[in-house]
Symmetry: C2
Subunit: 421 residues, 2 copies
């Protein structure tokens, strides 16, 4: 198989049909989404069979069990894919929405209209629901999508892509609006990243090393989701029971996700009152604590605290570990976070509104929170309806990316014959 | 000189001071802009001396006269730089502005705050006013700027940069907020494009080949301004005297700019009435006409019309040439433009509001106009106050880019102790 020619033909077909997708009515797009949901639901058995094949191969190849857990489908998981499709159908269509408007002294009306980006390439690992989510979001935002899932899920993804194509057809949309790269050859990714003439944006989802590799190699703009080294700062004026709830929720509600809490900063004035309790509670939940010297002194030998190194301040553990540091004041907390953090999500617990405002203004992260758990950094929780990922980039879209992040704006100028002097 | 170490040290200093720029008050930034304006005005003689040196060298090196014209300063041009600085000071500060807000069922208040991008690298040619404009816009939007002007203007740019630094100092801002690359060694550009750890965005301004080279080489996101192959479509219902004014203005008011008209499409129903007159008027202004077969038949031998080739449909002439094509209907015009255009700026002249709406919806360009001259595609004309360029990219910022395009958004979440279930 000539991988270069194959990927190029997929990409050029995507570009050709993108104009049809960009002009499809909301009704037609929603019809397709409902049709896909119904078709996937009806072919649950087929999809589970394909998935069983993938999982059996994965076991044979000795893949790690968390990965196999992530890729395994069951009736509930298939059902929730279908629910996701219906939810996207219910979101309002961003395409054609008008954004701000002003009239110039010469009478020209200047406004902006939301339009699709064009062709979007998604590169992702394991979870097969990304195939469905990405297809739905890209298509609803009027884009054409090229999907490249993990090779371990190729059978499942193909089974899903078949139903997606049938659903597009049922709504009289070109099936090439969503194309799956049907080879597991790794060279296909490299080829996709070179299609500057046909592909407008690459969205990778997966581990940090995958994303870094793609960003380094891509000739096409990439919307990156790198690490979430998220912080909570407990201010001197904090309500300590609120602080405790927010820290426990951030670290223990689910610790393998990007918006989980990784580092706890405590104002020195409340450290003696706050630290012994929170350390005990975290330890009781099986969380390993890596603390600064002051933390260790305050807590004493009550609970084992591993000495934290600078490396800890920089680390996204993605597991049951937390770093703890006592800081002199709000300024020191902000400096620590901007220096060692990954600019993903941080929260302050405080009753001082001036401190809250300063934290919000000066923290350079995609989400900055006051008196809330970092676990809320999520497209659903923000009311976007769904998310295609969380961007840690600064350009185009930052933080949770929903339909709006999959669109762009064009200027619309309406006149009555004006010419420039 | 170790170019790599030099550029890296500029970039790392820019990153260090960017946080100060991002937190500077509007008052402080405006103070700096006014101080720079006053200092440049006061040192007009010094700046003109430096410029005379650059121009003399350019003549010696045999540079083309339009380039020398563009780089030559005089008292008026220096004065208008100063006025530009004062104008930027008068623009409202985008940093800290809040964008949309919604309250979630759980009580969380979700909004977004406008923030600086960080460190911006500008790479440009000839016109020394870009040094001042870029410094002003980047700084007002809270960013640190690294400027790399054309080697032909090095003396002028250094003279300007000296005053910029003094103005920053006068407002107690770090002078490294605006740094000029003070070597003319071309390797410096290559080095700048590799500073992914320190530079967030590259904005090139100049010829298409420069921009394409930078985009191909850069490891940092690039905001590109490629060509403007702008179209006017004269619909069947057009007011023909309005159409004539818009075409003449688009092509002849200034033809070397990106928003000048390059291609005229005429509905077949009005072609016999419209074409002979407009062709005569254009020819009278010294414009060369390259027409399709139908155009040539309609106009006959009255005026010389060169047969247009497909290459003409794709060409941005940037000079006194226009391509003319008769089309069957609105749909054919839209197809022609989306296929051959450069997605910069297009206008329709029509009295039919349904046609206007369809043109606006279906034309895939950064500016789409109704009954107005393409020459209005410009940040000043759109009310942005100033522009750092016109983006032909689809991501982040599209069309004229002002202060807003030099910022990004972060999510702000305010709660009362909410945790995720």
């Amino acid at each position: 198989m000539d991988i270069k020619a194959y990927v190029e033909s997929l990409a050029s077909r995507a570009r050709q049909v993108a104009v049809v997708g960009s002009q499809a009515s909301s009704q037609q797009k929603n019809e397709a989404l409902h049709a896909i949901a119904a078709l996937i639901s009806k072919s649950t058995d087929l999809i589970l069979e394909a998935n069983a094949l993938d999982c059996a191969r994965a076991v044979e190849r000795g893949l790690e069990s968390p990965l196999i857990e992530r890729m395994t489908l069951n009736v509930d998981r298939v059902q929730s894919m279908c629910e996701g499709l219906v939810q996207v159908a219910e979101l309002s269509d961003p395409v054609g929405q008008m954004v701000d408007q002003n009239q110039r002294p010469n009478g020209l009306l200047i406004s902006r209209m939301r339009t699709p980006i064009g062709v979007i390439g998604m590169i992702y690992e394991s979870r097969p629901n990304v195939t469905v989510d990405a297809a739905a979001l890209c298509m609803k935002a009027g884009n054409a999508a090229i999907l490249r899932g993990g090779s371990e899920c190729i059978e499942t993804n193909q089974a899903l892509a078949t139903q997606i194509a049938r659903g597009l057809e049922a709504a009289a949309l070109p099936i090439q609006l969503v194309q799956l790269i049907e080879t597991t050859d790794r060279a296909a990714v490299g080829q996709l990243l070179q299609q500057t003439a046909y592909v407008d944006l690459i969205i990778p989802r997966g581990g940090k090393s995958l994303i870094e590799r793609i960003a380094a190699e891509s000739r096409i703009p990439v919307l990156k989701h790198l690490d979430g080294n998220c912080h909570a700062f407990i201010d001197a004026s904090a309500d300590l029971s609120m602080a405790s709830a927010i820290v426990m929720n951030g670290k223990t509600q689910r610790n393998s996700v990007c918006n989980a809490l990784e580092s706890l900063l405590v104002h020195k004035e409340v450290a003696p009152r706050f630290l012994p309790n929170i350390v005990r509670d975290l330890a009781a939940e099986g969380v390993e604590i890596r603390g600064c010297e002051v933390t260790r002194k305050i807590v004493g030998s009550e609970t084992l605290i591993v000495p934290a190194t600078e490396e800890d301040w920089r680390t996204e553990y993605l597991g049951p570990i937390i770093s703890v540091c006592v800081v002199d004041d709000l300024g020191a907390a902000i400096q620590h976070i901007n220096r060692f953090g990954s600019h993903h999500t941080e929260t302050i617990v405080t009753e001082d509104s001036m401190h809250a405002d300063r934290f919000v203004r000066e923290i350079d992260s995609s989400s900055v929170m006051v008196n809330a758990s970092t676990r809320f950094a999520d497209g659903f929780e923000y009311g976007l309806g769904a998310e295609i990922g969380i961007s840690t980039d600064r350009l185009h879209a930052r933080g949770p990316v929903g339909l709006e992040g999959l669109t762009t704006l064009k200027w619309v100028v309406r006149g009555a014959g004006q010419i420039r002097q």
